[in-house]
């Protein structure tokens, strides 16, 4: 079966890389699922979005990716994110706290971005927001 070579890179390090059968992400235009053989694509990930990687070895990798891009080439898929966290590393309590703080802080762009980051972390961790 054909697989995708997936790389998830954040600015400070490569977070995950390996083989996958499918990548599901949400771009600013809507949800997208990438299967092997997908046409080359560049997309901007929606703020507060979650990326799911169907890994061929092991369980799905769910990642909170903020401020990122998705690039699909014949060689594979790469996801670029300014901040990214794998769901198993997310501290739900802290994310909730961050969300509360950001929401009460007001409407400036800074705290809106913080709120979106917290939301994406919670969504990746499987919590309702």
């Amino acid at each position: 079966m054909a697989t995708l070579q997936v790389e998830l890179v954040a600015v400070e390090k490569t977070i995950w890389s390996g083989e996958a059968s499918m990548v599901i992400a949400r771009t600013t235009e809507g949800e997208i699922g990438v299967l092997p053989g997908h046409a080359p694509l560049l997309g901007e990930l929606a703020p507060g979005g979650v990326v799911t990687i169907r890994s061929t070895e092991g369980p799905d990798v769910v990642v909170a990716a903020h401020g990122g891009f998705l690039s699909v080439t014949p060689q594979g898929v790469s996801i670029l994110a300014e901040n990214a966290e794998i769901s198993s590393d997310i501290d739900v309590e802290r994310a909730r706290e961050a969300l509360r703080r950001a929401e009460s802080a007001g409407d400036d762009p800074e705290s809106l971005a913080a709120a979106r980051r917290a939301q994406s972390r919670l969504r990746a961790a499987g919590q309702a927001v």
Partner: protein, 314 residues
Amino acid sequence: MAGSLRALRRRIRSTQSTKKIFSAQELIAGARIVRAQARVEASKPYAREITRVLSALASSASLEHPLLNERTGTGRAAVLVVTSDRGFAGSYNVNVLRRTEELLGTLRQQGKDPVLYVIGRKGETYYSFRDRPVEETFTGFSEQPAYSDAQEVGRSLIDVFAPGDDAGRSATVDEVHIVYTEFVSLLSQVPVARRLAPVDTEELQRDDEDSADGTGVGPSGVPTSYEFEPSPDALLDSLLPKYVTTRIYAALLEAAASESASRRRAMKSASDNAEELAKNLSRQANQARQAEITQEISEIVGGADALVSAGADD
């Protein structure tokens, strides 16, 4: 004589304790280099990917973006100088600042008015001591820069270069340059000046080709034609500032590695010097002690001789 011996011993002690400080600094810097180099390596995949994506995009979009095009509206150029927060780093800061002066000279010759942005306390004091205007300073992260620091710096610079449509004001600078120290090897760090914005598309494509696999080109040798979500221009809009920030971040990491390497070298020669100084001083102290003993003996012998000859006279 006893006084000079005491003074010498005191100097030996103080030299030895400063030497301890130097060699501790040397060890810390040595450990930091390794960590800084690891961080430079860790940041490379992202930098490579974003260069590739942008290069692919640049060949598809209309290239009308302000971050890509040269212009001469305001006659001002921003210069970002990366220096260290702490001293004890040999010629590190001096070299960066000298390179900056060169760049400022070139810019002035081209009829541009340079505006300074400074990272690091050393650069800050350099310019404030000389009463030179500095637009903005950033301090406190020169040894261990985080991406958020680069974002903060990037925001300020992009804000003056390309404020965006909703900011309701126009750009105040035409160009953004950065001066930082490139980490060539443990023994060699070179101050370099680069242009951050407008982004040089040719350099971008060259960088992309350098990254080995040439993923911008399909198997048959023709450039891959991408689908874009959203439109190429909108993508370019959000990608370019991130690219600039990534460049700043990479420069900060390089500078941090260079700073530690430079500090280690400076501290190594300082502790070597201290050791030699202590050795010379203890030689002098020994001589002084010996002279003291010799003098005492000759005084005793002289005294005894005097007594003997006095007794013989009786």
